[in-house]
């Protein structure tokens, strides 16, 4: 099987996609990423804005209708869900194989 060229996702991209399984605006994404990563990943405004722009370009996320006139709201796309799932499987395999090797030691 040919591997998706977008894999592996970076830690920040992975958490953004995970956060966007529920629609959210920029600042909410920032808070969710921090929460999901147990405070390990803190993204600054400029960095997050660039990441959102990039994910929009890749069509992993898409804007949705919002009542907020200022803040745009984003949600993960089907393409984004697929790539998130692939990366999840990739990491699951890594964990399994590591466990097995460590057990044999």
């Amino acid at each position: 099987m040919k591997r998706d060229k977008n894999l592996p996702l970076t830690e920040t991209v992975y958490y953004i996609l995970l956060a966007l399984l529920q629609p959210a605006h920029g600042y909410l994404i920032m808070q969710k990423v921090e929460e999901l990563s147990n405070g390990e990943v803190r993204m600054a405004a400029g960095t997050l804005y660039g990441a959102i722009e990039n994910l929009l370009k890749l069509r992993f996320i898409q804007p949705v209708q919002s009542d907020d006139s200022r803040r745009k709201i984003y949600v993960i796309s089907d393409e984004g869900k697929k790539v998130l799932h692939h990366d999840f499987e990739r990491m699951k395999y890594m964990i399994e194989v590591t466990k097995n090797v460590l057990r044999q030691e």
């Binding site: 920032m30 993204m43 600054a44 405004a45 960095t47 804005y49 660039g50 803040r71």
Partner: protein, 204 residues
Amino acid sequence: MKKFRFYIDFEKEEKWLNQMLIQGWELCKKSYGYKFYKIAPNNTIIKIDYRTFKNNRDFEDYLALFRDSGWEHISGSKYSGTQYFKRVNENGDTDIFSDTPSKAARYKRLSNMWLTTAISYFPIFIALILTKAINITAFLNPRELYYTPGLWERTGVYFWKAFLFETPFAVMRGGVWLFLPVLMVLYLAFAIKAEKHYRKTNVE
């Protein structure tokens, strides 16, 4: 107070603006120059991003994200590129970037802007040459900058009088014709410098 400076290096510009802050001068507007107003000396932080926006909606969304995360927008417009932010939340982040690639990427955007500007002047320059508004061969043969008929066949005082009389006009003519190519070279140099900063920041 107004000051005029020109920066390609955002880090140097930030350093200067933050030094001004310590001395009690806070940036209130940047257009052709930097406008400061007097404040009580403090050590808040000013940071610079470089972005242009297609529409007001995108610009508003961008500003909202920064505002939400504790950065007040001081100066910049949809098309200005440079966006100046002041840290207003003491518990918030101390930088607007949290990784190196995004910190470097602003130089890439700046470099692309200068490059696009330089290239967009090119068709205008070519059009002016083709319509003979600019005589390009005059740069190789400066005699063509003089329009007085038969000037170069004249001799003695007769020649010098006509020559000296027309010289200021010839210099102006040449200067005007040189304006566009000089500008293009200058913009190209800015683009290369910004690109160098991009590469330097990215490997750090």
